[in-house]
Symmetry: C2
Subunit: 187 residues, 2 copies
DNA sequence: GGAAGCATGTAAAGTGTTACATGATTTT
DNA sequence: AAAATCATGTAACACTTTACATGCTTCC
């Protein structure tokens, strides 16, 4: 009965619920402050997915209005716990996908003049620097409070994200320097 | 009239056509050997997109059967050239998106026993190493022939991909070592 | 003769994004 | 009193993947 019929978005919600985040609204907000960098979501994904998970018995919901404002909280069922742990322990090769319009432009940049190509690379560097800064401001600080709650891995994941953006910014900075020097890349 | 109504997949096709790759089949294959890492595609995306681009006058197609086998080649029109160059020079912030199920698992790995967590990180490291190897075998060599055709940027893009996977593999290897040592990460 | 590769597409299902719509509560 | 935040959802559209369907040509 315990086939892997959930997609990563489902496991994301299961994981957030088990971590004590109990409404759809709160899950979306938590994702924006944590996993957004490697797995984003939206309200229009979270709410239908919660309904599906409840339908299939992975989670159980109950109405807990706050004053006159409707509100529905969820908890993970035994079946949901099992599915989540199976997924974490699964040896299946995890999905991995990039969509990087900036690199696509770089790929075709030979069609540009030298100046335009340098301008493109400069913009890519600036975008990476901006991502680096906002990651360190918005996501890292929160992750740094995880170990105090007895969790180490959210911080590891965030460190990977921060390191990645720094690495990427440096990479584009070097390419920009090479182009401005007008030389070939050194090996 | 020259509004940016194309999405990156459209520009990918435009760019490949301008580079002299003229059928849908060949475009898909070229993508698998080049931009796949930062922008993948599929036959079911390429063919309808070619039809759309032709409809809107960005490309022009003609039937060029090979023997009894039907075959349609395309070339980029003036309008298509302009759209492609506008896109390359555009200052719009390029789309950037990750979908990384492995990092999602890592994020929730505090629910696992130490041994299971180490096993997970080990699998992530192995997946990164495998991606690194197959990138260097399947994509880099071809990119290395680009400069001989007077193009430098395909190789730069491929170098970024190769460097990324190596970096990632090293990152997971270090995390695995830390976990096996049972210690806290050293700052 | 058979296998691999070339070549083009459609159909269905699934996934995801954007915009819309509503209204209560809390903070300034 | 207004603005921000909490909270939940729907509808329409866009995009993507998987599977199917077909048949020719070239290489072994």
């Amino acid at each position: 009965v315990s086939v892997l019929r959930l997609n990563p978005s489902g496991y994301l919600i299961l994981g957030m619920l088990r971590a004590g985040i109990s409404t759809g609204y709160a899950i979306k907000r938590a994702v924006d402050l944590s996993t957004r960098f490697f797995w984003a979501t939206s309200f229009a994904q979270v709410y239908p997915e919660l309904a599906r998970l409840e339908d299939q018995g992975y989670i159980a919901g109950r109405d807990e209005p706050r004053g006159g404002r409707p509100r529905k909280t969820y908890r993970v069922t035994k079946k949901g716990e099992r599915a989540l742990d199976d997924w974490l322990r699964s040896s299946r090769v995890p999905a991995f996908e990039f969509r990087d319009e900036g690199l696509l432009r770089l790929f075709f940049a030979d069609a540009l003049s030298d100046d335009d190509a340098i301008a493109l690379v400069k913009r890519l560097r600036e975008a990476a620097e901006h991502a680096d800064r906002s990651f360190r401001e918005d996501i890292l600080p929160l992750a740094e409070s995880a170990p105090a709650q007895g969790m180490r891995f959210p911080l590891d994941a965030a460190r990977l994200g921060a390191d990645y953006y720094s690495w990427r910014a440096k990479w584009f900075a070097q390419l920009q320097a090479e182009l401005e020097a007008g030389g070939r890349p050194k090996s």
